[in-house]
Structures are given as C-alpha cells and as structure tokens.
Amino acid sequence: MSEPKAATKPHLEYENVLSGSSKQVAQFDSDKKTPVQKFQYFLHSSPAAVPLIVLILSLAVFASILGSKFFSPFALTLILQQVAITGVIGAAQTLVILTAGIDLSVGAIMVLSSVVMGQVAVHYGVPAPLAVLCGFVVGAVCGFINGFLIARVKLPPFIVTLGMWQIVLATNFLYSANETIRSQDLGDSAALLQIFGQSVKLGGAVFTYGVIALAVLVAVLWYVLNNTAWGRHLYAVGDDPDAAELSGVNVKRMLISVYTLAGLICALGGWVMIGRIGSVSPTAGQFANIESITAVVIGGMSLFGGRGSILGMLFGALIVGVFQLGLRMAGTDPQWTYMLIGVLIIAAVAIDQWIRKVAG
C-alpha cells in the first residue's frame, strides 16, 4: 500500500488559493418581500392551503347567497355525507397520483367489491364479516394486478388501469347478473354491510359512520405519508423513481403496495357506498373515476407525482360538494353545474400554477 500522497501536485497549483476563498454561497434571498410575495410563499410551502382558501371562499359565497338554509350544521354535514364516497376513492387516487400514476379502475373496483360483499352475504349466506372480508380481498387482488403490471411488467399506469377498468366492470356485470340487492334484503341478513349509513347526530349536524370513516382514513393516511418511512418512500418514488431506486427504495415493491392499498381503499369505498345507498347495485359508482381525479386535481396535487397533500384532496372533494349543493339550492340547472365544475378544475390548477411560478 502506498502512503496517501500530498494534496498538492504541480498540475493543481492554482488550487492552492482556495484555502482563502469566500464561504459565501451564491444565493441571494431578495430582502424586499412584499406582503403578496410572503403570502405566495406561504401558499407555496403548504400545498393544501390553496384549496382550503377556495373552500372557505366558496362556503362564504354560497352562505351569503343562500343564507341559513345552506349555512346550517345540517346542510354542511350533508355535504360531508355526499362527498364521503368521492373522498374515500379520492384517498386511493391520491396515493396513486403521488407515485406519478393514475388509476382509472378505482370506480370499477369499488363497485365490484361492494357487489361481492352483497352477493356473498345474501346469496351464499356467509356471515357478514366474512362477506366484507371477501370484498376487501377482491379489491386488494384487483389493485395488486394493477401494481404488478405497472411495477413488474413496466406498463404505463394509464393503460393498465384503462384496461382493468373495462375488465373489472365487465366482470362485475357478468358476476352480478346486473341484479340489485335491495336494502331490506341486506338489512335482514347482513346489516353490517349497511353500517356506514348509520349516523351520529350532534345538534343539527349529522355525521354518518361513512363520514367518520372518511375522516379517519384521511387522518391515518396523512400520518402515514408524513411520519413513516413508507410515506417518505412514496413521495420519493413519485418524485423520481430512478433516483429513489438508486438511493435505496424498493420501487417495485412500493408501487405494488400502493396499488394494492388503493384497491383495499376502493373496497372500503364500496362498503361505504352500500351504507349510503342502502342497497347493493352493480350500476353504481360510474363517475367515481372522474370525481376522484377531479378532487385530487382541485386539491392541488401534481399529476406528475411527488407533490401534494392528502388534505388537499379532501378540500378538493368538499369544494365540488359545496358547489354541487349550493348551485342546486340556488336552482341552477344541472348542466350549468357541470360546466362550472369544468371551469373550476381549470381555474384551480391555473391558480396553483401561478403560485408556483411566482413563488418559485
């Protein structure tokens, strides 16, 4: 072994001066920040702040137009009930979109899971808890297949879930023979399936168990995303999968676990949906894809992955809910509501972009 050599060699004599070099870095925070800039910086650093502000503003606007009929504990908790399913599915979508993916099959998985729960409980006479378990297994399996194709076979998420959407939905119709299981039939043999329809009343406010499930789900996922290694890895994978892989994240396993978890959450969504509509219907949930993506997008999450907060998704779902109920109460035609939500989607992302651009 040779001795470590002297640090200086003829070729690098010019580097000797470095010892005297300034330690200052070329970063110049501009001092004269206007309040607007400060505000922008705040918005930039807290991704859920923009949708929260939009939510509060839209609540204020509708409250001032519609008065106490809208701004009552009952109406406000009604909005929560109406967005519960979208919120749960949106949570699944959030995880997937954080990995820079997209899941078009969430709605189909939700419906198939709910149909399996209902069929197994009512037609095969299996005890309700086991039937629910079957539903979750189906959701997880569908999610796992998505994850496997995306992570192992390396197919683009858009295409995999586009294909799975059609496959799962067709399976659902073939399996259920398009048959609705009525609320009463469920109530007799498997009341557990409807549990999310029950509610807690606090004054005028009505919180269904479905709403509570949504709140708990979002809280748990928020904790997991921010305070566990799995959550950090999820962000890393969405940010730059190659970098994540090279710096020690098992990207394939992460992707598979994310899609499987998304499938599980969709099954939970199916269960919540049974609670909400009382019955098990194979034709339900046709708009869950679009609604969940809309919630995520209005919630300020980047479709390119790695950025955004699950709280933003919740606020995004609520914004849509507020608009739908508010506009309906104001007597607006459903078609105008559609159009306004289209505008809202574009506007939400445009605002987000503006903040990013100016706050840098």
């Binding site: 119709f173 609705t180 339900a284 459903p334 078609q335």
Partner: protein, 316 residues
C-alpha cells in the same frame, strides 16, 4: 339455416333490459330462432346501436328488436335495415317518427307517468293543491323516456307541463325542482338530499325508476321523513314491486319487457315464415304491451293492480 333475429337494447346493465333479453332468449329457444343480443355501453350510446344494426344486416338476420337510445338518430340505420329486407320492431321506446319501424311494442311512458301522477293526486286528495313535488330525472341529456314519464306525471297530477317535450320550463309553484339521478341509487339519494335542502317540505317525489326511488327513500329515511312522503316510480321490476309492498314506494307503473321481447320474437318468426307484419293496437300507432299501476292502496278513479299481482308479473 333457420331464422335468426337480433335484440338491441340501450344497455345490458339495466335489469329492465336484462329481463327483456331473457324473455327474448326464452321465446327464441321455444320457436327455434337464433338470437343475438347487442347493447350500447350506456344509455344514450347510439353509435353502438347503429353498429349493431349493421352487424345484423351483415349477419343475415331476419328481424331486429330494438330499444333505441336516440329515437330520432337511429332512424337512418333502421331504414337501411328495412331496405335490406329486415323486419324492425321498436321495443319499449317508439322511434321518432313512430312509423320508422315496422312495428312498435312499447309501454306508453306518458301513460305510465300519468298513472302515477293521478294516483299521487288522488291519494293526497285536497292536499294535492299545495303539495311540494320533487322530480328525480334521469340524465342531463333528457332522453325521451325521461321526458315522457316526467311530463306525464305532471299531466296526471294536474301540473301544467307547458312544452311536453321539455323538462324544466314549468312554472307551477308546487314544483320544488328537478335533479338528475343517472337512474341509480346513489344519484337518487344525492338528488333527494339536494332538493330536500331546497325545500324540506317535499311530500311527493316522482322518480324516473325504482333504483332512484330506493336512493330517495334512503335520503328521506336519514332525516326521518320516510313516512310523510309519497314516492312514485315507473318500471315494475321485482325489487321495485317489493319496495311497493313494503311501503318504500307508494305506487309504481309496471311495464312488461318480457312480453315485449317475446311478442317481438314471435312477430319476427311469423314474418320470416309468412312475410306478415304485426299490427298496432286499436286506436294507437303502436302495439301497447300495457302498463299497470301497482299499489296496495288503490285510489279512486285510477285503475291499479295489487302488489301480489304485480309480483307475479314482475321482472328482474
């Protein structure tokens, strides 16, 4: 080869059409007719139906039974089929114009609406004058069934429908509002919640079909109003009739898809054998397969059948 026939439904996910298909299949088997079924992807998907008609022509079918998604839009394709020598029978939904098809075996949807409207008005009696009515419709696109049931209900109930081809131009103060349900439970519940929020005193609910009615009932139940509100609907599927039995729905107009399909298959077989085309019901421009109001609380002046009878004839 034997006679072959086609059945083209709006969708193959709605139990109504599923039953229609079953009825047609049973009859086809009985008569030795080869039956192929087609459907749109969703209600309103007319292109799939056009493609299906073309396939039937290419396939050498003798006749087509179709429930058109777009009653005007499908006409040119139907004409092509008829020109190619096929017998085209419209099921459930008449084409526009109605004589675009060789025959129409249908429910009178306007009548179906009228029946439930009359029943609701009669059941309420004097209170009908200041009733608060919610309309749970199908989709934003206002397909013709939607319009006919909705406007028929108004006629039966005693509301001026103004333009009977358009939902939403009415001015009667008893109307709380219209909302769309996509014909399913989730939509029914949300729409009901929304309209209740607009006016909590709603006491009559017109629903486009029974799944929407079931959803509306859940919404009413969640606010403890399920007792004081009359829900009426159209369809007559078994889950729906059972819901009438249990008081979820006050009354429903039952239609007979199995019969439509079976009659249709018979007509095609007859046409293939003898070249004879079916004739419309006396006094109407289509063959009315009938509609009956199903309720256990008959109202005076409104013909109805009992739930027990309804359950015998129900489908799905």
């Amino acid at each position: 080869a034997g006679v072959s026939a086609c059945l083209i439904t709006k969708t193959d996910t709605n139990p109504f059409f599923v039953k229609m298909k079953e009825g047609a299949e049973a009859k086809a088997k009985e008569l030795g007719v080869t039956l192929k079924s087609y459907a749109g992807k969703i209600d309103g998907d007319s292109e799939s139906q056009v493609a299906a008609i073309e396939t039937c022509i290419a396939d050498g079918a003798k006749g087509i039974l179709i429930t058109a998604s777009d009653t005007k839009g499908i006409v040119p394709a139907v004409k092509e089929a008829r020109d190619a020598g096929l017998l085209v029978i419209a099921l459930d939904t008449p084409l526009d114009p109605i004589d675009a098809a060789d025959a129409t075996f249908a429910t009178d949807n306007l009548l179906a609406g009228k029946l439930i409207g009359q029943w609701a008005a009669a059941t309420l009696g004097d209170k009908a004058k200041d009733a608060k009515v919610a309309f749970l419709d199908l989709t934003p696109a206002q397909p013709s069934v939607d319009v006919m049931r909705d406007q028929g209900f108004m006629m039966g109930f005693g509301i001026d429908p103004k333009d009977p081809t358009k939902i939403g131009d009415e001015t009667d103060p008893r109307i709380v509002g219209h909302d769309i349900t996509n014909g399913n439970e989730e939509g029914g519940r949300t729409a009901m919640e929304n309209l209740l929020q607009k006016n909590p005193n709603i006491n009559v609910v017109h629903t486009i079909n029974e799944p929407a009615a079931a959803g509306a009932y859940e919404a009413l139940k969640s606010v403890g109003k399920e007792k004081g509100v009359l829900i009426v609907s159209v369809d007559g599927g078994c889950p729906g009739v059972k819901n009438v039995q249990e008081g979820v729905i006050g009354a429903t107009s039952q239609q007979y898809p199995l019969m439509m399909a079976a009659l249709g298959i018979e007509a095609i077989k007859k046409f293939a054998d003898t070249g004879e085309k079916p004739k419309p019901t006396e006094g109407k421009n289509f063959f009315d397969t009938g509609v009956s109001l199903v309720t256990d609380k008959p109202a005076k002046g409104v013909p109805s059948i009992s739930v027990a009878d309804g359950l015998k004839k129900c489908w799905g």
